[in-house]
């Protein structure tokens, strides 16, 4: 069995990350993979922010009930829960930049051992750079958790000593949830907290582009089998717009 076959599905990664979100947190979920986190809160009351100007974002509306003035940062239809509030873009990014969000979950191309994150461009020369809100989110939330496949489709590592792609934020990532492991970013670099079953520390180090330390109480990351996907998917990470 290849490493990738042992890896978690996106729903399983989202499930694992959601376990670290307590009731009452204010959370911004980046576009794409991070949006799945909202499905795994087991009834805990968590308030979601979307940077286009809402707190209390609710789930996708039933087909036919979409409102063009109710969309999330990914431009997809949403609902507003009882208790929701709307505000202008200055306050919305004041919430982001002012450190009011307990958590922002971002997708990424690469994360470095110093906490740098690259998630907006694969080249510094992109003539149409898609910055969106990602730099603000990376700089502003109390905690940045990253969700991503552990490696590129090509097998190239995404956890690196230094990011090769242009940075979204410098030294901001707190924890990375990959398809193979839960990895903390510490002043001493990456520290692995949990690994999926069947993958050894040596296996993990072999597909990682930075030196890994392993927690003394290294855990096993066992996710519900019913959330497993038929095949892993390594498309581009989501980005705020």
């Amino acid at each position: 069995m290849t490493l990738s076959a042992k890896g978690l599905s996106r729903d399983q990664i989202a499930w694992r990350l959601a376990r670290d979100i307590p009731e009452g947190w204010f959370v911004n979920l980046g576009i794409g993979m991070p949006e799945k986190v909202a499905n795994h809160l087991d009834g805990r009351e968590v308030i979601f922010h979307s940077e286009n100007g809402i707190l209390g974002m609710g789930p996708t509306p039933p087909a036919g009930q979409e409102d063009p003035q109710l969309i999330n940062a990914g431009k997809k239809p949403i609902t507003a829960l009882p208790g929701a509030s709307f505000f202008d873009h200055a306050w919305s990014f004041g919430i982001v930049r002012g450190g009011h969000l307990d958590l922002c979950v971002l997708g990424a191309y690469q994360v470095a051992a110093n906490g740098d994150i690259a998630n907006w461009a694969r080249s510094a020369d992109d003539p149409l750079p898609a910055i969106g809100g990602a730099m603000d989110l990376a700089a502003g939330a109390k905690r940045i958790f990253v969700m991503m496949d552990h490696v590129e489709k090509s097998g190239a590592p995404r956890l690196l000593e230094r990011c090769a792609y242009p940075l979204t934020g410098a030294g901001v990532v707190r924890r990375v949830y990959t398809s193979l492991a839960v990895v903390d970013v510490t002043p001493e670099g990456f520290v692995v907290r949990e690994i999926v079953p069947g993958v050894s520390p040596g296996d993990l180090q072999a597909v990682t582009g930075a030196r890994l330390a392993f927690a003394p109480d290294l855990g096993v990351l066992e996710a519900p089998a019913e959330l497993a996907a038929p095949a892993p998917d390594a498309a581009a990470p989501g980005k705020a717009a």
């Binding site: 979307s50 940077e51 286009n52 100007g53 809402i54 409102d67 063009p68 003035q69 109710l70 969309i71 431009k75 507003a80 709307f86 505000f87 202008d88 873009h89 200055a90 919305s92 990014f93 004041g94 982001v96 930049r97 740098d116 510094a124 003539p127 149409l128 750079p129 898609a130 910055i131 969106g132 809100g133 990602a134 730099m135 603000d136 700089a139 502003g140 242009p166 940075l167 979204t168 934020g169 410098a170 030294g171 705020a240 717009a241």
Partner: protein
């Protein structure tokens, strides 16, 4: 009697001259002043600097303005979507200049212009390519980038209600950049769902006070094919 309500969108744009800076509200399709943006294309002023969060979702709104050839410079945070190939082609031909800014910094720069704050230090983008060539400063042990207020000659803004003083409300997430742009532009035109009597909007619920709005017109739908113009020269 003060009355900022007007009938003809095109007539509200006569002051827009070649080379002016124009802000347009909205986030994606929400809060976008389609009727005024179509009128801006028809108005025909050239070499405009366009400030719009999004650009390129499709051949509508900012995408249509860019294809019209009237835009000399685009300032935005997210130039992505279905129009990317066409925009790349125009960029490669030097048909317009592009400046991409982090979204929160874009919002705050516009807000600063309206509020008379000339520049500010933000942590956003510090240590990234965005900060290259910019003045930076360490404050409380953290790196910051100096950013300047971003004002405009004109703002075209989508809102929900307007009264004759120009007081505005917005519709849900259509609010976004609208209130900031109204204050940041010397001349703001709002496109609204309805005109209401003075006093119909509670003073508690006015989002943009009329002091920031010069004119208001009723919105009308813009058919998809009405956005089409001759390809940019």
């Amino acid at each position: 009697m003060i009355d900022k309500r007007h009938e003809d969108a095109r007539a509200c744009l006569t002051d827009i001259r070649d080379g002016d800076t124009v802000m347009v509200s909205g986030f994606g399709d929400s809060g976008r002043p389609n009727w005024l943006m179509k009128a801006l294309i028809d108005h025909g002023a050239r070499n405009l600097t366009l400030i719009s969060n999004n650009a390129g979702e499709g051949p509508v709104g900012a995408g249509a303005l860019i294809m019209s050839g009237l835009i000399g410079k685009l300032i935005c945070s997210f130039p992505r979507g279905a129009m990317v190939p066409a925009m790349m082609d125009l960029l490669n031909r030097g048909a317009f200049e592009l400046e991409v800014i982090p979204q929160g910094t874009l919002a705050e720069r516009i807000r600063a212009a309206g509020a008379g704050v000339s520049a500010f230090y933000t942590p956003t983008g510090y240590g990234t390519k965005h900060a290259e060539g910019k003045e930076t400063r360490e404050i409380d042990g953290r790196g910051h980038v100096l950013e300047y207020a971003l004002k405009a000659d004109h703002a075209l803004v989508r809102a929900k209600q307007a009264d004759r003083w120009g007081n505005l409300t917005y519709d849900k997430l259509g609010r976004s950049f609208g209130p900031l742009m109204c204050a940041a532009a010397a001349h703001t035109v709002a496109e609204v769902d309805e005109f209401v009597e003075l006093g119909a909007i509670s003073p508690e619920h006015v989002i943009t006070p009329g002091i920031f709005v010069q004119k208001a017109v009723l919105t009308r739908p813009v058919p998809a094919d009405a956005w089409k113009t001759e390809a940019a020269a």
